[in-house]
């Protein structure tokens, strides 16, 4: 479904950030990408979306109608067609703050309406109902009329997911969808992503190994712009140390909080 082959990226000062990244995402998979900061996680995602041009390598994407897009070669109209089939879940704060929740969800269909209609008429009733359905699917129906900028981080993230669902993509791509959320919200977002992954497929970048281990079906470890692990999700400390190196210790402090919500100590803290 998504195939990344020997992707490299060298930035202006000659520093190479991606050094031949290769991985695949199949339909129905929930792939979690982990790695220390600067490992090239987000940059790889940007290359897949055509937001950044790779220096070399190929990215192929196959949609649910068996059309194959050679993403690294596309631009203009063809790139837009490919993007229509990729449901991108950004950090929720990337929504349009001054539109209502429903309007933001409708924007997932923007590419499917003619440009003149987006200026002169806007969305139709049918499109509004469709967006409402997506909102209800993630339990955000009652927020439909609220201005998006007034929502909390977790609520915005759900709206971002509803927008991606409304887009009806062949694959969901999530760039750090839970990084800015507290552990409780992060887990509930993961629980929303899991069925989407089973239905279509999700490629996500995460910072919490425990969440990846719990919800993802495959884990990819990046370090220095290379894939150093690709296999079953694992929170094995030796493996994580290999991926994260020094950074693991800082990470462990945070993720241990979200890992053991059911242990007696955190129960006591809550009480």
């Amino acid at each position: 479904m998504l195939e990344v082959n020997n992707l490299t990226k060298t930035v202006k000062n000659g520093k190479s950030i991606l050094n031949g990244i290769t991985f695949r995402v199949e339909a129905g998979e929930f792939v979690g990408v982990l790695g220390p900061s600067g490992a090239g996680k987000s940059l790889s995602i940007r290359c897949v979306l055509g937001l950044t041009k790779a220096s070399s390598g190929d990215i192929y994407f196959e949609d649910n109608k068996d059309r194959i897009y050679h993403l690294t070669q596309l631009s203009g109209k063809k790139l837009r067609y490919a993007r229509m089939k990729m449901g991108v879940i950004f950090q929720g704060s990337n929504l349009v703050r001054r539109l209502t929740v429903l309007e933001n969800v409708m924007l997932g269909r923007l590419a499917r309406i003619p440009a003149w209609r987006s200026w002169l008429y806007g969305f139709t009733d049918a499109e509004a109902r469709r967006a409402m359905k997506a909102l209800n699917q993630i339990g955000m129906g009652e927020y439909a009329g609220r201005l998006t900028g007034s929502l909390s981080g977790g609520e915005m993230q759900r709206v971002a997911i509803a927008r991606a669902i409304n887009q009806n993509p062949a694959l969901y791509i999530a760039d750090e969808p839970v990084s800015s959320l507290d552990p409780k919200n992060a887990r509930s977002i993961m629980r929303l992503l899991a069925p989407l992954a089973a239905e279509k497929g999700v490629l996500g970048v995460f910072h919490q190994p425990d969440l990846v281990a719990k919800y993802c079906t495959r884990m990819i470890g990046l370090r220095n712009g290379k894939v150093i692990y690709d296999g079953v999700p694992s929170s094995d400390s030796d493996l994580l140390r290999e991926i994260y190196g020094e950074e693991l210790d800082e990470l462990a402090d945070i993720s241990s909080l979200s890992l053991h919500e059911d242990d007696p100590l955190s129960q006591q803290i809550k009480a």
Binding site: L49, L51, R80, Y81, A82, R83, M84, M86, V88, F90, Q91, S93, N94, L95, V96, R97, R98, L99, E103, L107, G108, R109, L110, A111, A115, S118, W119, L147, G149, S150, A160, R163, Q167
Partner: protein, 276 residues
């Protein structure tokens, strides 16, 4: 860390403004300002002694200003309408023309050379006061409301386009990128990513510009655009200070009313807007 007695401002850059020399530096600044004011007053031949000595005479001469000729008010109602029209007509025209200009002056919509050229043009326009534009227009079209409306419109375009463009450039780039990733075209991103975010700025700035245009209309009226400003300048030239006072009173009332009206308008438009 030592006590205050051991204060050493050479320890760190951030401590430099503190320490025992602070009061001397403040005194130095104060003396600098005093000397500067003294020197400039001497240069432009303002001297406090004359000012104080001649104050009673000056007040006596301008006492007519405190005695407005209320009976002149009915004949000033016509000119007052002209003033309102001088402010009211250019505002929507200015907004309408400033919007496309502001799009061409925003780095997130057009290539940077277009943006920079447009910004330079706007700056040049803003550097020319309305009154100069008015005088040029009068030379071309003769006296009357028409050159006044043109001058105020041009002045509105410059200021509004700059403020609109600043608002457009402030729109969160990530939100626009995420719209692009749905496969939307550039113009769809402008329509749904940029326009909703800048509309509040466009509305509130336009209302503010209307207030400014009221004042401009008074000023430009005096140099030939007609209306209350014209009445003011003729009364002054004819040394009819009581009539001039009545005109000033009306001007004040109108400008005050315009401000109240725009406050009201803003509160109606932004009612229930919890992001503002």
């Amino acid at each position: 860390m030592g006590s205050i007695a051991q204060f050493d401002s050479s320890q760190h850059e951030a401590l430099k403004p503190y320490g025992s020399n602070k009061k001397w530096r403040l005194l130095g600044r104060f003396l600098f300002v005093v000397v500067l004011v003294g020197l400039t007053s001497w240069q432009v031949e303002v001297d406090l002694v004359t000012l104080v000595r001649d104050l009673p005479e000056g007040l006596d001469r301008s006492k007519d200003f405190f005695n407005p000729l209320f009976s002149a008010i009915p004949e000033l109602i016509g000119p007052a309408f002209v003033l309102i029209l001088l402010a009211l007509i250019p505002t929507p025209i200015g907004v309408f023309l400033a919007i496309p200009v502001s799009f061409l002056a925003s780095s997130n919509i057009v290539p940077s050379w277009v943006r920079n050229t447009m910004r330079t043009l706007i700056t040049i326009q803003r550097g020319i006061p309305e009154i100069v534009v008015m005088v040029l227009m009068t030379a071309a079209f003769g006296l009357g409301a028409y050159p006044g409306i043109m001058a105020i419109t041009i002045g509105s375009i410059g200021m509004l386009a700059k403020l609109f463009a600043d608002a457009i450039e402030e729109v969160d780039e990530k939100a626009l990128e995420s719209l692009e990733c749905t496969g939307a075209t550039k113009w769809q991103v402008v329509r749904y990513g940029i326009i909703p975010e800048v509309i509040p700025t466009i509305i509130s700035t336009s209302i503010f510009r209307f207030e400014i245009n009221m004042r401009q209309a008074g000023l430009l009226g005096a140099v030939g655009a007609g209306g209350l400003g014209y009445e003011l300048s003729t009364s002054m030239l004819a040394l009819e200070y009581e009539r001039a006072a009545a005109v000033i009173l009306m001007l004040l009332l109108l400008i005050y009313a315009a401000e109240k009206l725009s406050d009201k308008l803003r509160s109606i438009i932004f009612k229930g807007d919890d992001l503002k």
